[in-house]
Symmetry: C2
Subunit: 377 residues, 2 copies
């Protein structure tokens, strides 16, 4: 099967680029002497998880308990659930552990820590917990120098059936950078914050074996990870236009795209219409604030066809309007007749991939495999 | 089962509000003397499709061929596929027709029309085709007064096995309005453009039994639909904050919400964190340009709890940061402890619902049913 046999819109994954991306990040981890615990929230695929953990300790990161259950069923047992837990989710965590998983859960909240302790005591389950540290992203986490850090640690270590496993941080503010130097500075803040938190815990007599950091930009541009034990990047497997725009990858490293079909021509306004709209691409506009705003995606030809730069300038649910980028010249309508196909590189691979239940895995233009994804919660 | 037994994030549908929304739109269609051919791209549910077509001729509108196949399997045979067709999709259309569907396909392109004619001739299939008219939205369609309209009609009516069924338009630019009067003006432009196109076709001797219009705002605010035969609104079933912001519904008409759990407290910056992020809510920002920007959704309490107005101000994949609306006062942290739940009303119901494989259907706070959805392509 090749690209013209597929029904559109459909999600394509270039195996060669995927493997190169995985290899490059594996090398980064090795060079820094840290474990790579890949975040599988982007890929949500056991096929990719197996490739991403090759040569690594085998632990993975997930963003939902449905992912945890799926990956456990596929043989992954060492799982970090890197979104703050709520007491109402502990039953599912305990059930997965009874089925063979070792799950690290996460919190930055003393009330939640007390809830974990109470649940462990009441039901006799064991929970391993990471404390989330805010190293500048201000999404979640306690400050490395905060009293709250020590307070949460004391609740956890004082509770029967609960193990404090360490600290975890995510420097999501690396996404606001525009240069490698800026990202490297965020990576250093991520490292020093996590290590400071770990050292405070250890100084107070707590074990803190895990010091976990991670975002794709900081994993790519970190210069020193002394004191860190693992990193958890995720989107590096696929990359996207946004990652390229901040220098976390090259455009040629983008492994994911959406195959779309041309369904309309509007030469009077310089636009073509495709069947890849807001659901097929997501409404992510992360390139909007950056140096290269591609709308809802960057459209490219098949087979390396030379075309002017084209952006998805408007979307509705199942419609995507494509125009030439400003200054790129006229759209080549004759090269893109109705029924012809384009590939659209996503702004944000995690969001785009989530609309699909599988990947069509390409070797060149041949569909070599179909890999399922696990979506939802 | 009630709201506290559900795992979050999860999609809730208030049955009472749904039924009121369906009834109100049915009454509109009756008052105008047109058929209601509900667009099921929003609901993607046979349970809802059966309710939405009650008392109507029974025809439905879909946005994907996967929806067409699903609804056919559920007993819906009269289907309009209201996204421009490509020749490469005709095999699937023909297969659905052999299975009992009567599908109206859509184009605004002479090359596509020739492709339909060629496919009908080569394989002996029959296709019924609507010509898409641009009544001001400038997404797709030929102008009502264009030579292209007549040219496409001639290709279709001259082809063996092809029937020209009529014209179809979608006044998506009603979404740019801010008052009922503005929407009524767009509705009138939608009507006059579609009717003008139909009359030109009839004057040239073509049959044109179908004159199809539709968007939720224009369906709500149209004052006269003379000459129109059917309307195809979709989001009216659920409504959303955006529809309320342009006056297409009241806030109390919003039937869809996402149930989320509080997982973090950040009093120093006046924010709480929930487990409903960019995937659970979508990244739709359609309220951004309007008079009431609620971020990625409007958070409300359970059980009618009185809380200040709260917006989802930032999202990442599985995290949603909630803050009080400007001027609404302080977030009531004590009323929203970790583990407590909120409902989030979506900006754009079509986009938000697409992340879920089912609805939890509520009667009051009790889960009365679970209705599956059909996603993907």
């Amino acid at each position: 099967m090749n690209l013209n046999d597929l029904q559109t819109p459909v999600l394509l994954l270039d195996r060669t680029r995927l493997m190169a991306n995985l290899s490059r990040m594996g090398d980064k981890a090795t060079a820094h002497g840290v474990a790579l615990r890949p975040h599988l929230k982007t890929a949500k695929s056991a096929d990719i998880g197996r490739l991403a953990t090759a040569g690594q300790p085998g632990g993975i990161t997930v963003s939902t308990l449905r992912e945890a259950a799926y990956f456990l069923a596929q043989g992954f047992t060492d799982i970090t659930y890197a979104v703050g837990i709520a007491a109402g989710k502990l039953d599912r965590v305990a059930a997965l552990q009874r089925d063979g998983a070792r799950i690290a859960i996460l919190t930055d909240n003393a009330d939640v820590a007390r809830g974990i302790a109470a649940r462990a005591k009441a039901a006799g389950d064991r929970f391993e917990v990471l404390i989330e540290i805010d190293t500048g992203d201000h999404r979640a986490g306690v400050a490395p120098d905060s009293p709250a850090l020590m307070h949460i640690a004391e609740i956890l270590t004082g509770a029967a059936g609960v193990t404090l496993r360490g600290v975890l941080t995510h420097a999501g503010h690396s996404y606001n950078c525009t240069t490698a130097d800026e990202i490297a500075a965020v990576a250093e803040a991520e490292r020093t914050g996590a290590v400071q938190a770990a050292e405070r815990l250890r100084a107070a007599g707590h074990a803190c074996p895990v010091v976990s950091v991670g975002s794709t930009p900081t994993a790519v541009h970190a210069r020193d990870l002394t004191g860190v034990t693992e990193m958890r990047p995720g989107v590096y497997m696929f990359n996207d236009v946004f990652q390229a725009s901040i220098g976390a990858c090259a455009m040629d490293d983008i492994a994911l795209s959406v195959l779309a079909t041309v369904i309309g021509h509007y030469p009077n306004r310089g636009e073509i219409l495709t069947d890849a709209g807001g659901l097929a691409l997501s409404k992510d506009r992360s390139t909007a604030a950056g140096p290269r705003d591609v709308g809802y995606g960057l459209a490219v030809g098949l087979d390396g066809a030379k075309l002017p730069e084209m952006h998805v300038v408007r979307v509705s649910q199942e419609h995507g309007v494509i125009a030439a980028a400003p200054g790129a010249g006229a759209l080549p309508f004759a090269s893109l007749p109705p029924g012809s196909r384009l590939r659209i590189l996503p702004n944000h691979a995690c969001m785009t991939a989530a609309a699909y239940d599988c990947y069509q895995v390409l070797e060149g233009n041949r569909v070599a495999a179909t890999w399922p994804r696990v979506n939802g919660w």
